[in-house]
C-alpha cells in the first residue's frame, strides 16, 4: 500500500518512543511554534557551546509525522556543529520538496530518510517541517544571545 511509504516503521517507532521529549530547565533559547492549519504545537529548547549544539529538548502535541520528525532531528543534530546542522537541514528541506522523486542521502540524513514519503503528500510537509523550523528559529536566537 502506498500509505506504507508515508508511515515507515522508523517513524512509528519515533512516534511511540520520542527522543529528547522532556524540556530541559536551562537553555540558551526557547521557541514555541504552531502549525495553524492543524493545531500541532511544539516547544523546543536549544543549548549551544560556541558552535556546538550541546542539547536540544522539546515537548509538543501533534501527528506522528510532526512528532517523529522532531524526535529524529534531535538524534541527528545534538553533538553536531551549527554548520553541519545547516547542511543536514538543507538536505532535509530539499528532500521534502522533492515530490517523491528522491529517497534522501542516508549518510547525511540517517533516520530522517524515512520521512521521504512525506514529500508525496503536500498537506503533510508542514507537519514534517514543524520541528525543523522551530530548531532553525531557536538556534538563531541562541547564537544571538551568546554573541
Amino acid at each position: 500500500m502506498q500509505l506504507d511509504n508515508l508511515y515507515q516503521e522508523v517513524i512509528l517507532d519515533h512516534y511511540k518512543n520520542p527522543q529528547n521529549k522532556k524540556l530541559a530547565t536551562s537553555y540558551d533559547a526557547q521557541v514555541h511554534h504552531i502549525n495553524p492549519s492543524c493545531g500541532d504545537e511544539i516547544t523546543l529548547n536549544v543549548t549551544l557551546d560556541g558552535e556546538m549544539i550541546l542539547a536540544i529538548s522539546w515537548d509538543g502535541v501533534g501527528c506522528s509525522i510532526s512528532q517523529a520528525s522532531v524526535s529524529i532531528l534531535t538524534d541527528l543534530l545534538i553533538g553536531k556543529s551549527l554548520s553541519q546542522a545547516q547542511v543536514i537541514s538543507d538536505s532535509f528541506m530539499h528532500l521534502m520538496q522533492s515530490k517523491g522523486t528522491q529517497t534522501g542521502d542516508e549518510d547525511v540524513l540517517e533516520d530522517a530518510v524515512a520521512l521521504a514519503g512525506v514529500s508525496q503528500y503536500p498537506a503533510r510537509i508542514k507537519c514534517a517541517l514543524l520541528g525543523w523550523m522551530a530548531f532553525k528559529d531557536a538556534s538563531v536566537q541562541a547564537m544571538a544571545k551568546n554573541s
Partner: protein, 414 residues
C-alpha cells in the same frame, strides 16, 4: 418522503470518480464544502455561455438577461428563507457577510442604533467558527466594547444557565452559530432571541451549517441577521448570503463602497442606494448567484425536511456504530436531540491527522484538526478531532465504510 441517496448521488458527477489507486470516493466532508449537482454546474457555466454581462448596467439585451438572472436568484433565496426579496444581500462568502456586519456596525456614528462604545458589549459563544468569532472580537477591540461569551458544557451544549448575566443591558449584538461545525449541536434560539430582544440587542445567526441541512424560516426563527455560504449548500464558491430585517438593513451603514451602491455622488460626498444595493458595491458574482439559485431550487425540490431527516438517521447510525468501537470518543452530543449530521471524534492515541490519512488511503474524505474553532477544541481538551459531516448524498454504505476504516486504522497504527 424518505429520499433515496443512491439516486441523488447520481446527480453529483464527482461522486462517481475514484481516488487513491481506484478506491471509490466516500465524501464525508460536506461541512467544509459540499459537492455540486449537474444542475448547479450547468447553471453557473450557462450564465457565462449565454447571458454574461454586467447586471444593473448597460442598455443592451445581455445586460437585461444578466440582471434578470441575478434578481431571479435573489428571489429564489428569499423564497427559500421565507424572507422579503430586498432583505437578501449577495456577498462573496459567509465570512464576508459576517465581516460586512461587523465593519458596518463599526462605521455607525453616534445616534445610530449600531454605534458601539466602551460601555457596550458583544456576545458570542465558545463554539463559534473563527468566522463568527474574530470579526466580533476585533470589532470589540476597535470600539472598546466588551466581548462576552456563552461557555460550552462538557456535553457540547451551550451553557445558558448564566444567560441573564451574559446578555445584559450593555449588550448590543449577540452573534451565535445555529449549528456547531464541530459538535453538530443545534442551538436553542428561542431563549437567546427573547433575552437579546428584551435588552434591545440584535441577534446575528451564523447559519452556515444549518441552512444547507434543515428548513430555516427567518420569520419564525426570530434572529435579526442570518448568514450562510453558497458552497456548503450544493452551490458554487464565491457567493454568500446576508439576510437582515429590512428596517435594520436600512439603518446599517455600508461596509464596502464603490459602484452601484450609491444614490448620488459628488466629488466630496455620496449617498447610498437602498438595501440590498447599499451593500453590493461592484459587479456582483453573478454566475455564482445564479448557481446558488439552482442549488436552492434543487434542494427545495427534494425537500429540506427530507434532507434533514435523512442526515439525522445517518448520524444516529454513525453514533450507534462509533459507540461499539473501543477507544472512540465522540466530541459533542451523544443523542440526536437538537443535533445535526456532523460528528467529531477521537480514536485513542491515533492522531486525527494520521487517522485522516489512513481513511484517505481507503477513499474516505474526512476533515481533521481544530475545524477553525480553536477556542472550542481547546476548551474541550482535544487539540484536534476527526470530523465526518454528512449530507443528502451520503448513504448507509458510507457510514459502514467509515466504521470499517476506523477499525482498520486501529490495526494499522497498533
Amino acid at each position: 418522503m424518505a429520499l433515496n441517496p443512491y439516486e441523488i448521488a447520481k446527480d453529483f458527477p464527482i461522486l462517481s470518480r475514484t481516488i487513491r489507486d481506484g478506491k471509490k470516493l466516500i465524501y464525508l466532508d460536506s461541512g467544509a464544502t459540499s459537492q455540486k449537482p449537474n444542475v448547479v454546474i450547468d447553471a453557473e457555466s450557462n450564465f457565462y455561455r449565454f447571458h454574461n454581462a454586467a447586471a444593473h448596467r448597460g442598455a443592451h439585451q445581455l445586460a437585461e438577461e444578466a440582471t434578470d438572472a441575478l434578481e431571479g436568484a435573489r428571489a429564489i433565496v428569499a423564497t427559500f428563507l421565507n424572507a422579503e426579496i430586498e432583505e437578501i444581500v449577495f456577498t462573496k462568502s459567509a465570512t464576508e457577510s459576517l465581516n460586512l456586519l461587523s465593519y458596518a456596525m463599526g462605521n455607525a456614528e453616534s445616534g445610530n442604533r449600531f454605534h458601539l462604545t466602551a460601555g457596550d458589549s458583544i456576545v458570542v459563544s465558545e463554539m463559534e467558527h473563527h468566522a463568527n468569532l474574530i470579526p466580533w472580537q476585533q470589532l470589540a477591540a476597535r470600539t472598546g466594547a466588551t466581548l462576552k461569551w456563552f461557555e460550552v458544557t462538557p456535553e457540547g451544549r451551550l451553557d445558558l444557565s448564566s444567560i441573564d448575566s451574559v446578555i445584559d443591558s450593555s449588550t448590543k449584538v449577540v452573534a451565535i452559530t445555529h449549528q456547531s461545525n464541530v459538535l453538530g449541536t443545534i442551538n436553542p434560539l428561542e431563549e437567546i432571541v427573547k433575552r437579546a430582544h428584551n435588552v434591545g440587542a440584535v441577534v446575528v445567526l451564523d447559519a452556515c451549517q444549518s441552512v444547507p441541512h434543515m428548513k430555516v424560516d427567518v420569520k419564525s426563527l426570530g434572529a435579526d441577521f442570518i448568514t450562510f455560504s453558497g458552497h456548503k449548500t450544493v452551490g458554487p464558491t464565491g457567493i454568500g448570503i446576508l439576510w437582515g430585517r429590512a428596517v435594520l438593513l436600512s439603518e446599517l451603514p455600508p461596509f464596502l463602497t464603490g459602484g452601484s451602491m450609491i444614490e448620488n455622488v459628488t466629488m466630496t460626498s455620496a449617498t447610498w442606494a437602498p438595501a440590498p444595493r447599499k451593500f453590493e458595491a461592484g459587479v456582483p458574482n453573478m454566475a455564482q448567484a445564479v448557481g446558488l439559485g439552482a442549488a436552492l431550487t434543487y434542494l427545495s425540490n427534494i425537500g429540506m425536511e427530507s434532507i434533514h431527516a435523512h442526515e439525522v438517521s445517518l448520524a444516529k447510525l454513525l453514533l450507534d456504530e462509533l459507540a461499539h468501537i473501543d477507544d472512540v470518543k465522540v466530541v459533542g452530543p451523544l443523542d440526536m436531540e437538537l443535533r445535526g449530521g456532523t460528528v467529531s471524534f477521537t480514536v485513542g492515541e491515533i492522531h486525527p491527522h494520521d487517522l485522516g490519512q489512513y481513511l484517505d488511503s481507503q477513499g474516505i474524505a474526512v476533515r481533521t484538526g481544530h475545524h477553525c474553532a480553536w477556542p472550542l477544541t481547546r476548551k474541550l481538551g482535544v487539540p484536534a478531532t476527526t470530523r465526518a459531516s454528512l449530507y443528502l448524498y451520503n448513504t448507509q454504505d458510507d457510514i459502514q465504510a467509515l466504521v470499517t476504516g476506523i477499525r482498520d486504522a486501529q490495526k494499522y497504527f497498533a
